[in-house]
Amino acid sequence: MKRAFWIVGFAFLAAGSVGLADRVINGHIHANYGSIVTWGLWVAAYIYFIGLSAGAFLVSSLVYVFNLRRFESIGRLALFTALVTLLLALLSIVFDIGHMGRAWHVMAYPNFKSPMAWMIWLYAVYFAILVAEIWWLLRRDFVRGAREPGWHGHIYRWLTLGSRDDSDAGQARDRRRVRVLATIGVPLAIMFHGGVGALFASVAARPHWHSGLFPILFLLSALVSGGALLAVVATIFQHGLKRNRDTVLALGQVVLALMLLDVLFEISEFLVAFRGGIPGEVAGLKLVISGPYWWVFWGWQTVIGTIIPILLLALPTRRDPRWVSLACLLIAAGLFGLRLNIVIPGLAVEEIRGLGQAVASMRVHAHYFPSVTEWLLTAGIVGLGLVVFGLGEMLLPHSDGEVGHVPVR
């Protein structure tokens, strides 16, 4: 399992380097988005990754804020997953902007009327909280590991940042700090990911996005995808099912409940729009269910990403962690279809009819399919995530259970 993980990781990374070279050398010329469908695969990837990050972080808060012991064994994994996926999200969006070298403008000249500016600032805070939380969680293990000889100890000595205290009292103090940070992190995660939903929802020009349900749907699907991803991660890493069996089963049930709620919200969105029947508001949804990419919705998102996993999680297979893990993998993959179906149909409706016919240009076209470069670069970002996650999992101290025995007041 782990070997397959590494092979996929490095293969994707290699493919991504080709896409990266093309993006850096030739800019956006080989990307297939244009001036009608102006956001494409990279933006979908970005909201997918940031959803994973928010979801994984919120699952970790079950441990560090709400003290749910059942998920203790994946607390560290969840935080590390949140950190890695946050980096992937930021990478995806940086490659999408026209002038990558100007990304700092958002920090230097923010316009706080713009949800996008808010988002970037909140990510910065979130990033700091994640790093601090992870460091305090691992600090004692770093201190202890630093005494070991060899390169492992060397890395740990560097990671202690000079701290030498390995007492239980120090550990308890760390845990209190972690708890404070995690508690700040919960509303923050809700804000920034609800904010991503609001970034889309507040665009009145795009009826497909312009709905009060949207930010809530973003949060729900973030929780679903984050929880599902963690179940998969816990199956593969840190002694896998030998240790995490019960956690995976429990996560499966949490994911099932959230998934059902998510489906309910989606149904509401469709029902209200179609019964209302305003052409502009239905246009995007019609593209979703019967446009050129109907199969993304029906095949990928609905059958593979929703119906099969719900059955696996509800039928007696729910008691077998391998089936649960498979169901969660399908959910995590299926939600990428949902992300694509948010970004692209929202844009692929001509705002004024006949725009595509008015000028002959491949950039002025309501049809969009990602280019080779877009796919390669996205694969590379996934590959980078797998490799960074694998390295971190290998190098960083594992939760060995003793962390959980320190009482938190």
């Binding site: 026209g98 958002v106 713009s114 970037i120 020009a205 705002e351 016919q357 240009s361």
Partner: protein, 294 residues
């Protein structure tokens, strides 16, 4: 590199007259730098063309007068009234705009639609030319994460600061009228093959940028700015002198009327008063400054 000296010159002036919150604004620019630049690249043809078009006298005047601080109160409300009954769908406006602003393929500051209403119950064709509407409440402006696009206080023209814009394209999603275009670094053959035409800079925002791969406005969002570079130092246009938005100047059927809505006696004010004018997507509350006569 000539383009760089241009930008630096622009920044110097901008720091003196900085009024737009947080940085240099696009319309501030050293005219002396421009002339030097033109001489350097030997764009004699352009200089000649500009003197015919009336841009050169304006530049000369601006050069003589000291740069005045940017006015902060609204002096003009520029807009258009487009008479669809006079539009024959010749698309001369699109061509004139391209010739004036040197926009690359895929970037169209104005577009002529002929399938807006389809199927029609009668057999009358309806053509609709659509520049940026320079809305009173532009949704594109609020979403810009870096305030690179803004509505100018003095005349309501919605502009893009090419040096500030990061190219996130959020404004393009927010514009209900598809008035914004991303510059993908595509070029017409004349530019690609580095003919003399490639040497001619675009007069946009009086910045006279030469097209260079990877340099703004490549990678930026671009839009109609009512040919703002043709304004004189008081921010006024002059139809008789040819300092008039290219599309309106060239319109074969005289369908595109341009002017100041704050002036009750302007042609556009009169047309809106006397005829039945509509604006697109009123329900969004954007209040476009471009009206259509049906």
């Amino acid at each position: 590199m000539p383009a760089n000296t241009l930008f630096e010159a622009k920044r110097e002036t901008a720091t003196v007259t900085e009024a737009h919150e947080g940085g240099p604004s696009v319309h501030e620019m050293s005219r002396r730098g421009l002339l030097d630049h033109l001489t350097k690249i030997g764009a004699g043809a352009l200089a000649a063309a500009m003197s015919v078009g009336g841009a050169l006298p304006a530049i000369a005047r601006a050069q003589a007068a000291p740069a005045s601080p940017r006015p902060t109160r609204r002096k003009f409300r520029y807009g258009m009234v487009i008479d669809t009954r006079r539009c024959v769908g010749c698309r001369a406006c699109m061509v004139a705009c391209k010739a004036e602003n040197k926009t690359p393929p895929g970037v169209f500051y104005t577009v002529v639609f002929d399938h807006v209403i389809e199927p029609r119950i009668d057999d009358k064709p309806l053509f609709l030319t659509k520049p940026c509407f320079h809305c009173e409440h532009p949704p594109c402006v609020d979403v810009c994460p870096v305030s690179a696009t803004y509505k100018r206080e003095q005349d309501g023209i919605v502009v893009v600061d090419y040096d500030r814009c990061i190219g996130c394209r959020y404004c393009m999603t927010a514009c209900p009228y598809s008035a914004r275009w991303f510059d993908f670094d595509e070029n017409y053959p004349a530019v690609e093959q580095e003919t003399r035409y490639a040497e001619v800079p675009s007069p946009e925002y009086n910045q006279f940028r030469r097209r260079e791969s990877g340099k703004s406005p490549v990678g930026n969002v671009r839009k109609c700015h009512f040919c703002m570079h043709l304004q004189d130092e008081n921010g006024e246009y002059d139809k008789a002198a040819g300092r008039w938005p290219a599309c309106a100047k060239t319109c074969t059927g005289k369908a595109i009327h341009f002017g100041d809505f704050l002036d009750p006696e302007s042609e556009v004010s009169r047309l809106v008063r006397e005829r039945v004018a509509i604006r697109l997507k009123e329900e969004l509350g954007t209040e476009p400054n471009v009206f259509y006569l049906l």
